[in-house]
Assembly symmetry: C2
Homo-oligomer: 404 residues x 2
């Protein structure tokens, strides 16, 4: 059967398939209506609760008060507003030392929009895109609904870097792109420079071996959310054929702003052609650029973020408590996720038991790592604090043999 | 060859293909830099120059000043914000008398986003989508890049209603959808009730004959831009399986706001299922809803429009002058376009000659009607007035035999 007809059928099937995260989030809402939402420790959704910087909103108001209607609401060129692309290129150059110019940037409606373009740029149906467990579950439909296939490299569970033996066993002639996400949703782990060196060494070797470019697609919406002064190793610096997909959703707490970009490495083969092709891909998928006013507003906010220290404090509280309770847990370097091993083999059962204590945790299965669970701690710190007692009670009651 | 691989190759080819409208608009910008843009009579682009209502901007500011960050910038549910969908359903019910409810509305990023979903809802690769000349040129890539095929029904040149003989000769077993756009870009013509009755009669007959539903996709961004008190015959009232694609780009002058919706007729088979499927289609094309703040803002502006009377005045000026100059021209019922017959058979040559008089006109070829040309009069009235002298000079000099 034609793959697109398969996809059309898939849309219907997907409707009956249940998204675990969505189910849990709905449960949290129902429970909240019952006992007060402040008593539900909802760690299900990666929806930032730290507000967008007031400076950002002030600037939106200023734009609205002082600009022409045609500037605020006029069509954006299909690749994005020139001055905005230029500002982003300049900021990337300044921060990461690569010679980005306007022609390397394509404005996209968030990471979903950016990935939709990047994937279509470098794959065709039947190709394979490799991702590393644990991974953001939406990668599967994002890739598979283009007609390419998402293949998962099993995790390196000790530290959630890369399992290179598994990677070399999975990569093959059909691999046209490798998709990474560092710092990572759900583990919070940042790939080390060593990991990036080893990864890109293999990509270069395999590109030669298979006689075609293998692209590195780096989905980096959490790039700015780093703790303990960690420094982000800029992926493009390690590999020429790198395509960055960025979103302002997390760093500026703007998930509903639908604003991000594709940044093609200036050293990438045919970099400018790829960016221009994004504009054509848009015509096929009905994209047509992020909202003009959001483009203008983020261009003025490239050097600010929401208050990241709140996530760091939440991470500290949770990591300390979880390890004290005997959880096997990799310490997150950033993001607002933590991904500990559950206290029984079936993380689904584990998370189900946690519901009794009003703890909404997400089983790791849909992230490609059964036996683990994710907590999204983009919630208020005082709520994290109050949840610790529930966590202690949950473990003491349900898992009394766990070392405490 | 796999159709998607054909599409991937097409992206590159499209880059070298030249968009006439874009070329002309670039020419206008260059010429403007030379002689002052106020002296270039740029009728190339359908980019509204009439400002968005001040009430709309005031409301945006009010939202920003008084709302929570999470409300302003938080994720929208994948089908759109419930209260916004409800407000739109209510407004449609009130205005057009059909029992729209929240579950019939899907929020989309403008008409391009809406059409991307509607087309994928009801067609699969190899199917055919019929459109009527003259048509908005982007329909071709919109349809063809899904894998379906856009087939054009030749025009009824006397009044730009529908050429029903040609329609019956073109519709076939593979026709899964018929795409209309009334009032029309580029002709400005509104389909009459008679046209809609005859069209939908044929659709019902052919659906029975072929044993499958044929959907009517109605792209209606110009629905509110009507002159002489014309009343819009609401398409869904004539045909159950109607899917409306709407955009606020034109009625509120918000093309860069990227906000619109899909409205599935409550009487459509599986109406709610279709709306839910839109949410799944989004995952495949990286859509993820229009910007939250734009959704909130348009929900408060469902009863207002930009100052449409400016377009009506421009139409009156141009129609009067063009007919006085001997142009064969259907009088537009709405929109901000007029589509006269050129004074020589090759409209490309005609428009090229017009450039000497700083008149930027677009040949009708890409709209599927060679020999005609489009003027987009969404520009300032005083500029339209000044352009009349240039128009007279152009005709008198280049076409002295034309009856004047």
């Amino acid at each position: 059967m034609d793959w697109r007809i398969m996809i059309v059928n898939q849309y219907k099937e997907m409707l009956s398939g249940k998204s675990v995260i969505r189910q849990l989030s709905e449960f949290a809402a129902i429970k909240g209506a019952e006992i007060g939402y402040e008593n539900v420790f909802d760690y299900s959704l990666g929806n930032p609760s730290v507000p967008a910087p007031w400076e950002f909103t002030k600037n939106m108001i200023h734009l609205l008060e002082t600009s022409d209607s045609s500037l605020l609401y006029g069509y954006s060129p299909s690749l994005g507003i020139g001055s905005v692309r230029e500002a982003i290129a300049g900021s990337l150059e300044e921060r990461f030392g690569l010679p980005y110019r306007t022609e390397h940037i394509f404005m996209a409606s968030g990471a979903a929009g950016a990935l939709a373009h990047a994937l279509r740029l470098v794959t065709k149906p039947g190709d394979e895109v490799l991702g590393f467990a644990p991974f953001f579950p939406e990668y599967k439909p994002y890739v598979n609904l283009t007609g390419a296939m998402f293949r998962v490299v099993p995790p390196e569970e000790a530290g959630f870097q890369i399992n290179f033996d598994a990677f070399e066993a999975t990569i093959g002639e059909k691999t046209m792109a490798v998709l990474i996400n560092s710092p990572n949703n759900p583990s919070g782990v940042l790939y080390t420079e060593d990991t990036l060196r080893q990864l890109t060494e293999i990509l270069r070797k395999k590109s030669r071996q298979y006689g075609h470019d293998i692209y590195l697609i780096s989905d980096e919406p959490y790039r700015e959310i780093l703790f303990d002064g960690a420094v982000y190793p800029y992926v493009s610096a390690y590999y020429d054929n790198t395509i960055i997909c960025y979103s302002f959703s997390k760093s500026l707490s703007l998930p509903g702003g639908r604003i991000g970009y594709v940044a093609v490495n200036p050293a990438c083969r045919d970099a400018e052609l790829l960016v221009n092709m994004c504009g054509q891909i848009s015509r096929g998928i009905g994209h047509n650029c992020p909202t003009t006013i959001m483009q203008l507003a983020v261009a003025k906010a490239l050097d600010i973020t929401s208050d990241i220290s709140i996530y760091e404090e939440n991470r500290n509280l949770l990591y300390r408590e979880l390890t004290a309770l005997g959880f096997d847990c990799v310490k997150p370097d950033g993001t607002f996720y933590i991904f500990p091993r559950a206290l029984e083999a079936d993380a689904g059962l584990f998370c189900e038991k946690a519901l009794k204590y009003n703890l909404i945790l997400v089983p790791g299965d849909s992230f490609g790592v059964p036996g683990f669970f994710r907590m999204a701690y983009c919630i208020e710190t005082q709520k994290v604090q109050r949840s610790l007692e529930a966590l202690r009670e949950f473990v003491a009651t349900e898992y009394p043999e766990s070392k405490m």
